[in-house]
């Protein structure tokens, strides 16, 4: 019986091939939220900017789909996405911001320099909303439909090519 020789060899080659294939794949370290398709949790966040009110769950339940943008003044990719959020705002999209572990003076400086596309900004000092949303980093952008259901999660900064895609997602959430 030669199978005792060939089977281990075949297994070895299989694992070698598997390892080679996996090594050739791009690194995938995004953690997709398990909350997509589920309702937003109940929360209420204090304002952090003098001219923008705070954020609570009810603000997402007025029938209009909105973007929920998790950001922070200390986050570099947030600077990169600022002009694209501005473009979304110009196209009539309502963007509600949640600032993570931020200070009012830093938020004011950031908004002065990079624009303020937000209708409301809530302050989350404990990343509590991130844990509720299944968000693992800053920035992240969520599409929330008019009933407060989480419909889509965009991980990382919003780039030019994501603007039409997000508008499509908002349309689909109507």
């Amino acid at each position: 019986m030669r199978w005792t020789l060939w089977v281990p060899l075949a297994l070895f080659t299989f694992f070698l091939g598997l390892a080679a294939y996996q090594l050739s794949q791009p690194k995938d370290d995004v953690i997709v939220s398990g909350m997509i398709g589920k309702p937003l949790p109940q929360f209420s966040l204090e304002p952090i900017s003098p001219d923008r009110p705070g954020v609570s769950t009810a603000d997402f339940q007025d029938g209009t789909p909105k973007l929920l943008n998790i950001w922070a003044s200390w986050c570099l990719p947030c600077i990169a996405e600022a002009p694209h959020l501005e473009r979304l705002k110009e196209q009539g999209v309502q963007i509600i911001g949640i600032a993570i572990r931020d200070k009012p003076e830093d938020v004011a400086r950031f908004l002065n320099r990079h624009g303020n596309p937000y209708t409301r900004i809530g302050s989350d000092d404990l990343s509590a909303i991130q844990f509720e949303l299944g968000s693992s980093g800053v920035p992240e952008t969520y599409v929330i439909d008019g009933d407060g259901m989480i419909r889509y999660q965009h991980i990382g900064d919003v780039r030019a090519e994501h603007v039409p895609m997000l508008i499509q997602q908002l349309e689909a959430a109507r």
Partner: protein
């Protein structure tokens, strides 16, 4: 000789500049969450919280538990764990709450599920196979053995 010295100096300069370089991924400047570095008063509850924190994965550093990580988000997660334990929540309920949001990924205590069952099944299968081969070998005796491995 001077050339070696110059190369050495250049190396030293590169090291020094690397040491003083700013980190690219800035972290927030606000104070850490109350229970990020503060233990619970009740040692028994703190024990439960610590045991759980050692088996939860830090989301921003990815190869550390939240008990081992100094990332702001790991601190916030420790705060979540301690306040929930203090409120009387079971450690496994907190783990389940996190797995619902982040998937099996967040837990260092793998459970048998639709995607992880091969991890548990394959070692059993291999043990069974090894047992069968051993039984066959031992049961067959010397002459058959030489035939089986004939060159």
């Amino acid at each position: 000789m001077t050339r070696h010295f110059l190369a050495w100096m250049a190396g030293l300069a590169a090291m020094a500049s690397a040491m003083f370089a700013m980190p690219i991924l800035a972290q927030s400047s606000t104070a850490p969450a109350p229970y990020a570095y503060q233990q619970l008063d009740d040692p028994a509850l703190e024990r439960r919280a610590t045991d759980l924190m050692h088996t939860l994965r830090c989301l921003t550093c990815q190869s550390q538990s939240i008990a081992d990580s100094d990332a702001s988000m790991a601190g916030d997660m420790r705060h979540q764990v301690r306040t929930r334990i203090l409120a009387g929540e079971e450690p496994e309920a907190i783990r389940a709450w996190l797995i619902e949001r982040y998937g099996d990924y967040v837990s260092y205590d793998p459970q048998v599920s639709a995607t992880t069952w091969p991890l548990f099944a394959v070692p059993l299968l291999l043990l069974l196979l090894a047992g069968l081969i051993l039984r066959k070998r031992i049961g067959r005796g010397g002459v058959a053995d030489r035939e089986g491995e004939g060159t």
